[in-house]
Amino acid sequence: MIEADLVIIGAGPAGMAAAAQAADCGLSVLILDEQPRPGGQIYRDVDRAAPRHGAILGKDYTDGLGLTDRLDHPNIACLFGTSVWQIDPQAAVSFSRDGRGGVARGKRLLIATGAQERPMPLPGWTLPGVMTAGAAQILLKASGVVAERAVLVGTGPLLYLVAAQMVRAGTPPLALVETQTRSDFLRSLRHLPAALLGSRTLLKGMGLLATLRKAGVKRYKAAKDIAVEGTDRVTGLRFAHGGQPHQLECDTVLLHHGVVPETQATRSLNLPHRWNARQRAFHPVTDRWGRTALPFIFVAGDGAGIGGAKAAAYEGTLAALEIARDLGALSDGDRDLAAHPLRLRLWMERAIRPFLDTAFPSFAAALAPADDTLVCRCEEVTAGAVRRYAALGCLGPNQLKAFGRPGMGPCQGRMCALTVTELLAVHHGTSPKTIGLQRVRPPLKPVTLGEIAAMEGQGEQSTL
């Protein structure tokens, strides 16, 4: 058993900022992360990739170096390549690393597991060659690998960022097939005044669009009836645009229609979660410091609700301040003094979200896919099957597992849970909030019996 004042799961912006703040307050910190190096997905591999591909990836990415630098602190220990597969309500964390199991326990636990892209079930989305836009970006960050003949499909700022990065890498995408409509844009305008607080982000977005225009990347807006073509792998994309059918030949299709909180860890603890109707996602309920219903367990960053990398770092710092106060390392007054300017910046950072969420809403046809589209990639369950089970009287996502196994494959519902909930909600004429998400049970990540058998620290203790 490894002990520390604060154990953090996830070395993305929230986890790294929290670690740095807690360490500065004199707490011992242990960070666990599944990746071999710090950064999370947004700053994935930034220490290695910034010098090599910094010009392609841009300043928002290389800014991550400011956070990874701060991990080099005598109070911070990092375990990378470490998969957490169980968290108990007393905050003991079971993990696997290098083929061995282990347990870490903190006086406080911070879950900073970030976001995942919202699954985008379309006809053909399981074909080899279809990836998420985020996956393309990870390939570029972690490996310097770019797709040669790619079409980006969906909506949202990440689509433009990835496209611009591909342009700068000398491999522009063949086209952007975008799903947001003119009426989405008109609806978003009432949020524009607030969004102007985040004008830096707006200007950056316009810069990305200018890059795409200059590179001559074709953009199809308000696309409908999107389907990926191919039998063994992607050969093209079919869609309707302006009432006309279109077909593009390509080798890679990159999907994206927003990101959602990664809630596997918080759901496995049976913590209360709230439905955010504008972001169409669930997030754990926390107080303004990130404290959950289990007082020793905190959540910060996108895993607590989507706010982006900068907001995540502020939230991580705020959680660390409260944790330091909890453990007697900081007075109430000092905590509040340090928190005040952060809250203002966090508020400014979040101000643009209603505009973005409304201007780039998730693609309706992927929230309610056609009957023959797979929604559960692992168990290969179609939307039609889910609707049939609902018609037979199946009320909820957990019962649905018994009917047809969606959510019971290796990804444990990460790729289908939200879609299943949306489908059941529509069928029963209620809100996803009422339906809820599939229950999550440990192990959160696959673990071998050998790893459990080789659990170190049974009986022995080490303190950081």
Binding site: M131, S143, K445
Partner: protein
């Protein structure tokens, strides 16, 4: 073979021998296994146990489990694995689950 992915990085990393099914590949030591296999033209990575459909990496962040491969007989996510000398990779297929 058609290039679907290309590598921008300077080729300054030593390459090591890796076996993927019946193919012998020279991949960059210590690099992300899924990325290296994609750059080497490997497609698909596996076939599903349910219908035998072909699959390849989808999320690249350990969430989707579509890049599963067998490394030393253990099912692993290629996107969460790194290249090392002499890696023996088998393709999970329907037979493994029957």
């Amino acid at each position: 073979m058609k290039t679907v992915f290309h590598n921008l990085s300077p080729d300054d990393t030593p390459r090591v021998r890796v076996r993927f099914a019946d193919r012998e590949l020279m991949l960059r030591d210590g690099a992300n296994l899924a990325a290296e296999l994609l750059a080497a033209g490997v497609m698909p990575f596996r076939h599903t146990p349910v219908s035998g459909a072909p699959r390849a990496p989808f999320c690249m962040m350990g969430a989707c489990f579509d890049c599963l491969v067998l490394i030393d007989g253990v099912t692993r996510r290629a996107c969460m694995s790194e290249v090392s000398e002499g890696l023996e990779i088998a393709v999970p297929g329907k037979a493994d689950h029957d």
